[in-house]
Structures are given as structure tokens and as C-alpha cells.
């Protein structure tokens, strides 16, 4: 059975491209765009991996990650953080809050696949 990736991102064309790339690689992919309801969506779909954008409407990816790490059921859920800022302090914040991995936009499709494969191999 295919592993389930939940992509939480608000840029529609990025959602479409990443979803396509991951599905082509054999993953089951679902998507969500609202930061305020992201934690509830994660609880609902129980994914094997979350790809989480930092800049989301309503609630930042950092806040969502912090929330996930404070809950027993998602404490160890693999979370790949995405950001477009490319700033050192964002990378540090992601690590401090417990992100499993951190990628800076833009990234290559192969890089994305390698990281996802590595996180839920």
C-alpha cells in the first residue's frame, strides 16, 4: 500500500507540480492550503509524511510544527519544511522546532524525491 504524503502549501501551481511528481513516484498524495485547519487535517488523514510550507494563510508552518511536536500522536511524524525565504534563521527555527528536514525554495524535483524517499523509506 502506498505511503501517504500530506502537502500543506498555498501556492496552487506548486501544489499541482509537487503532487504530480510524488504521485508519479508512487506516493499517495493529498493536499491542504489553510494554516488554521492544518493540524485538524493532519489528524484526519493521518499521513506518513507532512510537507509543510512555512508561509501559510492563517497560521505559519512554524506554529503548526510546534503544535505537532507537542502532541503525542504527531510527536514523531516526519515533517519536511518548505520555505521561500532562504534565511539562516528560518532554517535554525525549523531545526529547533523539530523539523525532520528543511528545503529552501526553489528546489529540483529530484531533490524533493530524494528527501521524501529518505524520510519515509
Amino acid at each position: 500500500m502506498a505511503k501517504h504524503v500530506l502537502l500543506i502549501e498555498d501556492e496552487p501551481n506548486i501544489i499541482e507540480a509537487i503532487s504530480f511528481i510524488l504521485r508519479q513516484d508512487g506516493w499517495k498524495v493529498s493536499t491542504h492550503s489553510d494554516g488554521t485547519k492544518a493540524v485538524a487535517e493532519i489528524a484526519r488523514v493521518a499521513p506518513d509524511l507532512v510537507i509543510l510550507d512555512v508561509m501559510l494563510p492563517g497560521r505559519s508552518g512554524f506554529e503548526i510544527l510546534q503544535d505537532l511536536r507537542s502532541r503525542a500522536e504527531t510527536e514523531k511524524l516526519p515533517v519536511l519544511m518548505l520555505t521561500a525565504k532562504g534565511q539562516t534563521r528560518d532554517r535554525q527555527a525549523a531545526q529547533d522546532l523539530g523539523a525532520s528536514h528543511y528545503m529552501t525554495k526553489p528546489f529540483s524535483n529530484q531533490e524533493m524525491l530524494d528527501v521524501v524517499r529518505g524520510l519515509i523509506a
Binding site: E11, Q87, K105, P106, F107, N109, M112
Partner: protein, 325 residues
């Protein structure tokens, strides 16, 4: 792309303090990401259904158009002379220019329909970016609604009868004060005495709409004088604030501000606020002035940095005037 990332890194301090630059570069990197991922799919996927292929091509086209808008906006931003107040840099600046070019009045929308809005935008001077056109569309749709609710002739007649007193106009037309404020600011200047200025902001103080009044500087990007009733209204929604504002140049205006909730204030979501302030030249009316003569007089400046009121309790940072004293 590494160069672009390096640029972002190098400008980190400026990014922190310049919302326009930060948002623009974030949007550019998002567009580049979408284009790189989508073009990678087109280049590397052996068998792609024609429909899917066209869809990805369209996505790349859309993102490239967005990049074009963003790059033009950034170019204007960096090219802007420091003293060129007419130069545009952000979508809101473009809207500012567009509204000013039309003297904040749109005869075609006074009895217009939603369709008329698109015609006005299509011929809109200064509306360069898609974002600016989108903001202008929202404002003009509001304009059409206001014009329907408060027809121009009736508004002018009633307004003159009540000396453009906002509470009486609101009562007469059965609308909230911000609607009256907007209508006053968008009246034809040749028909109205006095003239009105307007500013609207969200809970962060970010300016959403502004119409200057000669002699009284309204904030352009926030960081303005925190004594303005506009900001006081944010702290107490649905309560009207009125005051006489006196500038260091002895310009006096009467200001009225009102803040409303957008959406349901009772929900768990953070409340979304919109504060609106209308200003008009202030002329003491003597004994006949009634309540207007009892308004508090606030000594305000354009921003702390250039304000000569050195002992102001609301001061955020020292004034350049302090160094010269």
C-alpha cells in the same frame, strides 16, 4: 537560482524591515519554484497526457506573467527617487496613483453596474500590476455598492443640509459610519466644500486606502503617529472617535474614525479589523460650533522621527529635532 537565494540572504535585515521587499522576493521565489518544478515535469516525463501537458504549460505561462509583474514592480521600487512621491512601488501605490488620477471620483460608477467596474479598470491609469487591478476592483465594487445605497444627488443634498455631519448622514441613509466616510472621500471635488481626506488600515496598521488632504500628511506605509484616531479606533471597535488634529505646521483637521469587524467576531478565529478615518479642514465655529468646539485637540506629527513634539508620551524613537536642540 543560487544567486537569487544569495541576494535574499544578503538582504535579510532589509527584508525584515521592508514588507514590500520581503513579500516580493517571497512571491518571486514561489513563482520560480513552480516554474522549475513544472518545467521539470514537462522535460523529464516520458508520457504525459495532452490535457495534463497543456495544463502544465498554462501554469508556467501564468507564473511567468506573475514573475513579470513582480519584476516590474521591484524595478520601479528600486528606481524610485527618494523624493519622488508620485513614483509607484507597491500595488497599493499603483492604486493610489489610479485614484488620484481620477480625483477619487468615478462618474461612470455612480449609476453603474459591476460591468462598468471592469471598463474603468481596463482604462485605469497607473494600474500596472495584476495585484493593483485586483485591489482596485475590490474598491470600485465597494464604490458601486455605496453609490447604490447613497445616490450622489441625494447624498449631496442631505450632506449640505446637515453640514456633512457623519452621524446624521449615517442615520439618514441607514448605513455604518465607514460607508459615509468613503462616500465623503469619493465625492466630486467640484461639488463639495469642504474637501475630505480618508485613510483605512487593518489591525497591523498597514494602510489599505488613502486620500490625502492638502497640508495634512497621511501615512503611506504605517509607522505613523500613534495618536491618530485611526489607531485608537482599532483598540475599541464600533466606537466613534472624533478629534481635532493639529500638525507642527499649525494645520488643523477634524478627524473621525471608526473600526469594524470583518466576518464573525464571535468565532474562534482572530478578529479581522478595518479602521477608517475621514478628515476635513477644521475651522472653529465660535459659539455656534456646538459639539465640534468641545472636541479634544491632539498635537500630532507625521512620524516620530521628524516630529518636533519632543515630550510626546507616545514617542517611539528620538526625533531628529532633539539633536538640534
Amino acid at each position: 537560482m543560487q544567486a537569487l537565494e544569495a541576494t535574499v540572504e544578503g538582504l535579510s535585515d532589509r527584508l525584515t524591515h521592508d514588507p514590500f521587499l520581503s513579500e516580493s522576493l517571497h512571491a518571486m521565489l514561489s513563482s520560480v519554484t513552480a516554474i522549475q518544478a513544472t518545467s521539470g515535469i514537462l522535460a523529464q516525463t516520458q508520457e504525459l497526457e495532452p490535457l495534463q501537458q497543456r495544463r502544465f504549460q498554462a501554469n508556467i505561462y501564468d507564473e511567468s506573467a506573475r514573475l513579470s509583474d513582480l519584476s516590474q514592480s521591484l524595478a520601479r521600487y528600486f528606481d524610485r527617487p527618494a523624493d519622488d512621491v508620485q513614483a509607484t512601488s507597491t500595488p497599493l501605490d499603483e492604486v493610489d496613483v489610479f485614484l488620484s488620477a481620477n480625483n477619487h471620483h468615478f462618474p461612470a460608477l455612480e449609476v453603474g453596474t459591476v460591468g462598468a467596474v471592469e471598463k474603468v479598470i481596463a482604462g485605469g491609469e497607473g494600474l500596472v500590476s495584476q495585484a493593483a487591478r485586483s485591489i482596485a476592483r475590490g474598491l470600485l465594487l465597494q464604490y458601486v455598492h455605496d453609490a447604490e445605497t447613497m445616490p450622489l444627488d441625494a447624498f449631496l443634498t442631505t450632506g449640505r443640509d446637515v453640514n456633512f455631519e457623519t452621524s446624521r448622514l449615517a442615520q439618514h441613509f441607514g448605513v455604518a459610519l465607514p460607508s459615509i466616510f468613503r462616500r465623503l472621500a469619493f465625492l466630486p471635488q467640484s461639488e463639495v466644500d469642504p474637501r475630505f481626506g480618508l485613510i483605512q488600515c487593518d489591525a497591523s496598521g498597514a494602510v489599505l486606502l488613502r486620500k490625502s488632504l492638502h497640508g495634512f500628511a497621511l501615512p503611506r506605509y504605517g509607522a505613523a503617529c500613534s495618536l491618530l484616531p485611526l489607531y485608537q479606533a482599532l483598540g475599541r471597535p464600533h466606537i466613534a472617535f472624533r478629534a481635532v488634529l493639529q500638525t507642527p505646521d499649525d494645520i488643523s483637521v477634524m478627524a473621525e474614525a471608526f473600526c469594524i469587524y470583518l466576518g464573525d467576531p464571535g468565532s474562534d478565529a482572530p478578529p479581522i479589523l478595518r479602521a477608517t478615518m475621514v478628515i476635513r479642514p477644521y475651522q472653529p465655529l465660535g459659539r455656534a460650533g456646538g459639539s465640534q468646539n468641545t472636541l479634544p485637540v491632539l498635537r500630532v506629527g507625521s512620524s516620530c522621527r521628524v516630529c518636533p513634539h519632543l515630550a510626546c508620551a507616545a514617542r517611539r524613537e528620538p526625533s531628529i529635532h532633539a539633536a538640534s536642540n
